[in-house]
């Protein structure tokens, strides 16, 4: 497929690229890192500002015009702080945790296309790669939780472990629906196949994936690992200075990465009229990120058993049914127009959410002690 618009980044398309493989590699590595850092800075500002507005506050407005420099000021402040390591901490683990949490997030961006074919590596298992790699981030979290030698941290880490193991399943199942519709695991192919954005073809898949992704990256209302009102700061209670900054960065980088993945999988990625493709990707990413902020604004945190119950009793059956429905549609009517499935799937999604809401309940969570 031809690129829809000749944007400013046309030059980075591999076909036009003058150098060899290593140049491509180096260039994209730099692009990815810079892109991620800039996006994170934007995201931090955006989140604080948007939440402030919704909470009848102003949000950051002092540093720089409209407070735009606030993330940088924060970063400088945090970086200048002393690095405190608790005496009972496992020093090496404590030190390595933020690094290990940080790496996979960067890796996610390697397979996200900024334009037709413009990405660091067009893996033919792209989406599987994302799921696999994002599960490594968990290791960082529980290293932090365990290495701190703090009970709050340990509780946060244990919650994280439980949540991640549970939420990967509906997440992968929701992705499988998309993969079935598009017929490829490669992110670029998935974008190219979306003549209708997948959010319409797979509305239930979108909802499930959005929920599961929120849980996977500790966004509210599933931010139990760092539940501020219960565990003070969860797994990163004992972190300060640079390492805390790393975790802070990871948190937002994960959110941005997941937003980018969602916009690639469900919102047809870089595709869109008029604007250059990379801008479309950024716009869509920020749109998804805004959804996360919006939901965060209004939701209390769920409890751990409700979190697990939601995954196993609500998301999982719905994901399985969605998968079945998609499979039947794809297998039985391979040539039918997708618009028919749009209608059918939207009705199905509504019905399933309705039914699921009726049938789904967890106990009250009380345990006889």
């Amino acid at each position: 497929m031809e690129p829809i618009s000749a944007g400013a980044l046309d030059i980075i398309q591999p076909t036009y690229w003058p150098g060899n493989y290593w140049w491509h590699w180096l260039f994209y590595t730099v692009v990815v890192i810079v892109f991620m850092l800039v996006m994170v800075i934007g995201a931090i500002y955006f989140e604080r500002r948007a939440m402030g507005k919704m909470q009848t506050r102003l949000g950051p407005n002092r540093t720089g015009p409209f407070g735009l420099l606030q993330p940088i000021a924060d970063a400088v402040k945090v970086l200048l702080k002393e690095n405190i390591v608790p005496g009972v901490a496992d020093k090496i683990v404590h030190f390595l945790a933020p690094v290990i949490a940080f790496t996979p997030v960067l890796l996610i961006f390697t397979v996200i296309p900024f334009q037709n074919g413009a990405m660091l590596a067009d893996l033919n298992i792209g989406i599987l790669f994302i799921v696999a790699v994002s599960s490594i981030a968990t290791v960082g979290v529980f290293m932090a939780g365990w290495g701190s030698g703090n009970k709050y941290s340990l509780l946060g880490a244990m919650r994280n472990v439980a949540a991640v193991v549970s939420y990967e399943i509906p997440m992968v199942l929701a992705i499988l629906g998309v993969v079935m519709v598009t017929g490829s695991l490669s992110m670029n192919d998935i974008v190219n196949a979306q003549n209708i954005p997948n959010i319409l073809v797979q509305p239930l898949g979108f909802l499930l994936f959005f929920t599961a992704a929120c849980a996977e990256i500790n966004r509210s209302p599933f931010d139990l690992m760092e539940a501020d009102s219960e565990l003070t700061a969860g797994f990163h209670t004992e972190y300060s200075g640079m390492r805390f900054a790393m975790f802070y960065l990871v948190e937002y980088a994960e959110a941005i990465a997941m937003s980018a993945v969602i916009s690639t999988l469900f919102l047809s990625g870089w595709r869109g009229p008029w604007l250059p493709p990379w801008l479309w990707l950024i716009i869509k990413t920020f749109f998804v990120f805004f959804l996360m902020i919006w939901v965060r604004t209004i939701m209390p945190r769920v409890r751990i058993d409700q979190l697990m119950g939601l995954a196993w009793k609500f998301l999982f059956p719905l994901a399985v049914i969605n998968l079945f429905a998609t499979a039947i549609e794809v297998l039985a009517w391979p040539d039918a127009s997708q618009w028919i499935f749009v209608g059918v799937n939207i009705v199905l999604a509504g019905a399933l959410v309705f039914l699921g809401s009726r049938l789904f309940k967890t106990g009250l969570g009380r345990v006889e002690v």
Partner: protein, 373 residues
């Protein structure tokens, strides 16, 4: 729906200190929680981090001089504290408060109830993990009330407004119109707030059926106020033992049956509506006349003892004063609502998760200033 499930996976018990410095202990409070995984098997509250010995201090102050201390008991509702104390002293000394003074007292006390419930509900949501949104929406309105109080007595938190025999100053002329303007806004806001919160699935899931306090236990523990009313005890001192001039107003006592966190939230919202109702009646009826009886600043009540209690926003707040005829009370005891309401905490949280522990604790609405005194 069953209320219990078995504990299936036991791990080693694990003691977690929550507090004294913790984001959601409402002050300096410490709970030593024994956990089994996430489940709270036992807690032991530890107090005294804010103990200032007000009861002892009061034995060396004049009766008027104690009023500023009462501000600092429950610092979220100082007006009510003032009122209760003044009632006790007036009962002891036999002072009659003029009409206008009574009305001003009622207006301030009810406004104070609104302000307190704003914090109680908002903080409760914060404890549930909502990221400040419900809290700040409530604070928006609390701010308006505090502005009114500022207009009235020049302070925003520690008012020191009531005096034995009345109030310290008359109402400024802008006050009543401002209140009249504020009340419809508040009513509208409460509707919106309920719309915002009451059906939110996550909030309902977190609060319904959680932290149930049975009626019997509530009575046995001496629980009072909205917490008791949420458990189905239709007991309100404004109605059952009317002090001041509460018998002149029409209002209902909202109650609920389940005694769970949702009911405590909902009873508070309903109480706010009733307070608005009382205020609407009161600001229409305020008479002219003196606002304060002619009482000297230093009084010598006759020897004896008196106990006066009011329905403070948090529950029954009582003052027990023993006088020996001197200028200072011989014995000054406060019946602390928050401390006694906390008495059922252990029974309420056992078997729930850590997150619920925080939430249930928040739903009781305590102030450490009053617990520790």
């Amino acid at each position: 729906m069953t209320t219990t499930q078995e504990l299936t996976l036991k791990t080693e018990p694990f003691i977690l200190n929550i507090g004294p410095m913790h984001p959601s202990t409402h002050g300096v409070f410490r709970m030593r929680a024994t956990l089994d995984g996430e489940v709270v098997t036992d807690i032991e509250p530890v107090f005294g981090y804010l103990h200032r010995g007000i009861e002892k201090l009061a034995e060396e102050r004049t009766y008027t001089g104690i009023i500023p201390f009462t501000d600092r008991l429950d610092y979220l509702s100082p007006m009510s504290n003032n009122l209760g104390y003044c009632l006790a002293v007036e009962k002891l000394a036999g002072v009659k408060v003029p009409e206008r003074g009574e009305y001003i007292r009622i207006i301030t006390a009810e406004l104070q109830r609104l302000a307190n419930h704003c914090v109680a509900i908002g903080a409760m949501f914060n404890d549930a993990g909502a990221y400040f949104t419900p809290f700040l929406y409530m604070f928006r309105n609390r701010e308006k009330i505090y502005d009114l109080f500022d207009m009235l007595c020049g302070q925003r938190v520690t008012y020191n407004y009531m005096r034995i025999g009345g109030v310290s100053q008359d109402l400024p002329e802008e006050f009543l119109p401002a209140v009249a303007k504020f009340l419809p806004q508040l009513k509208k806001f409460l509707d919106e707030y309920e719309f915002f919160v009451k059906q939110n699935e996550v909030f309902v899931a977190r609060s319904k059926g959680v932290g149930i306090l049975s009626k019997e236990l509530a009575i046995n523990c001496g629980i009072s106020g909205p917490v008791a009313r949420a458990s189905g005890i239709k007991h309100d001192l404004r109605r059952d033992d009317p002090y001041s001039i509460y018998d002149r107003f029409e209002f209902d006592i909202p109650t609920a049956e389940n005694g769970d966190c949702f009911d405590r939230f909902y009873v508070r919202v309903q109480e706010m509506r009733q307070s608005v109702r009382i205020l609407e009646q009161a600001i229409k009826q305020v008479p002219d006349g003196p606002f304060r009886a002619n009482v000297p600043q230093v009084i010598h009540p006759p020897a004896g003892e008196s106990y006066a209690h009011i329905e403070s926003p948090k529950g029954e707040l009582g003052y027990y004063i023993v006088s020996d005829g001197s200028i200072a009370p011989y014995r000054f005891h406060i019946r602390p609502t928050s401390l006694i309401n906390l008495g059922a905490l252990r029974n309420m949280v056992r078997g729930w998760k850590v997150a619920d522990l925080i939430f249930i604790f928040g739903s009781i609405d305590i102030t450490m200033g009053e617990v520790d005194r």
